[in-house]
Each structure stands twice: as structure tokens, then as C-alpha cells.
Symmetry: C2
Subunit: 155 residues, 2 copies
């Protein structure tokens, strides 16, 4: 009984931690706040299209990744759709939106508002995030960027 | 205590049901087995690129969707990577592989082996599946099909 109660409390805490982490680090861009959330070794288990896929990052490497991914979309916001906790994992489904303000390969800044959806399985070690397995709808982003390029000032 | 024990058992059963459903209906192509797994109303809450996204299907509609999606890839197999149960939901992460044997829009059959990864949140009503929220790496599939077209018989 006690262990199940503990598990329930831990699940609730893990969801709260992940919600705070997503807001502070990824949406508000407080990269240094990663100190409070990221484990000494963070492994990107699966993340098609992510330049760091398959790599193990230390804290400095994780911060570098956040800065790089935020550079082209500095006002990005993650709107959490669902949180599902089981064991040491919490799955987060999300909708992302951002203005395309910086250049990315193949797409100079368009100024266009872009949206994307995704699902991320985060793995905890204690109260720290130690890695993730993620799928994002990157085709949807490419289609919006291509449309923005094709449309130009006509839109 | 009893309710928590029940929840744990229900979670285990939900994972087993989802594993069997995925194998029988989606991997082995026993479309009629949907009778044992799908609720009278099945809602596709979010599934970018799926022709049925946002729709509510009855059992006949669900079977139609399975047949249509399997038509171009008749030997498809879903390899489950992870199952995460919380409340009435089970999240499944998966790797899919199939031979491209039938035509799809823009891509006549290439005969090429294709892989894709995805994450699906399934929502249960009792022991039946009543809907899903899904992200698939459809850009990865398009890139493999484009490569197959460009390479042709050289490969």
C-alpha cells in the first residue's frame, strides 16, 4: 500500500517537474534552468531529424542543444496536450508554435508563424530527466515553410 | 488499496490488449478481429497526414481505414518499443517496417523496404479502444520513397 501511494505521488511530481521544465527551459528560454532538471548524462534515444539523435549529452551539451534549436524560433511555446506517467517515464504530447525568425538549412527566415505537434517519452532518474524518445511532425513544418517561401509577399 | 490493485491489473490488461490488437489487426492483417477491440465509436483526435484525422468512425469505418492503410504495404509489421499506461490511456511507441508493394499518391509501388517510427496514445473505454492521438515520422517515409524513385534500378 505504502509503495503504491509513493508511486502515485512520484508520478504526480514527475508530471509537475516536466511541466515546469518545459515552460522554463523550452518555452521561456531560461536555458540555465536546465541545471535543476537535467541528469549528468542525458541520452537522446530516438529523435528523427534532431542533429543530436543517438548521442549522450552532458549538461553543457544539453544547453547547447536548447540554444541551437531555439535560435531560429526564439518565441517558441510548447502547449502540453497530455501527460501520461508509468514507472520512470512520463509521456508528453504537445503542440508547438513559433515565429520563424532565424535562418535554418534551406529556409532563410520567413517571419511566418509555424505550428508543429509531437510526442516525447521522457525518462527520469530520480527527479532528473535522463533522456528521451521523441517523434515530431517535421513534415508539417517543412510544408509550412515551403508554402511561406512560395507565397512570399503575396500573403 | 483495493482500487489501486485493480488499477494496476487494469493497466497490465490494457497493455496486453493493445499488444494483441496491434499484432492481429495491424501486423497480421486480420481486419475482422477489430470486432473484439474497437468501441462502437472510435475518434481520431489528432493524426497529421492520416486521411481520417479528426473523424469519428464506426466499426465498419475503422475496418475500412485499416484496409486502406495496409493496401500499399501488405506485409507491414509494428515492432512495439514501449508501452506506458496511465488512467484510461496507453501510449505505444513503435517502429514500423513494410515493403512498398502498392501505389500511393505521388509514389507508384517501388518494391522498396520502408521503415517509420511513431508514438500513439490510445484511449480505452473499458477493454475497448475508443480513439487515438498519434504522431508518425511521415517525412522519413517520404524521403525513403523519393530516394527509391531517384535511385530506380541503380540500387
Amino acid at each position: 500500500m505504502k509503495s503504491e501511494g509513493t508511486t502515485t505521488t512520484a508520478s504526480r511530481n514527475a508530471k509537475e517537474i516536466l511541466t515546469q521544465f518545459t515552460r522554463e527551459v523550452w518555452s521561456e528560454g531560461d536555458v540555465e534552468a536546465s541545471d535543476r532538471y537535467i541528469a549528468p548524462r542525458y541520452t537522446i534515444l530516438h529523435d528523427p531529424g534532431d542533429p543530436w539523435e543517438g548521442r549522450e549529452l552532458d549538461l553543457a551539451g544539453y544547453k547547447e542543444r536548447v540554444r541551437a534549436l531555439r535560435a531560429a524560433f526564439p518565441d517558441q511555446v510548447f502547449d502540453i496536450q497530455g501527460l501520461f506517467a508509468d514507472g520512470d517515464a512520463v509521456v508528453m504530447t504537445w503542440l508547438w508554435s513559433a515565429t520563424h525568425k532565424g535562418d535554418i538549412p534551406g529556409f532563410p527566415a520567413t517571419g511566418k508563424r509555424i505550428t508543429m505537434s509531437g510526442a516525447t517519452v521522457y525518462f527520469f532518474e530520480g527527479d532528473r530527466l535522463a533522456g528521451h524518445w521523441q517523434i515530431t511532425d517535421r513534415l508539417g513544418v517543412y510544408q509550412q515553410l515551403q508554402e511561406a517561401q512560395a507565397g512570399g509577399l503575396k500573403r
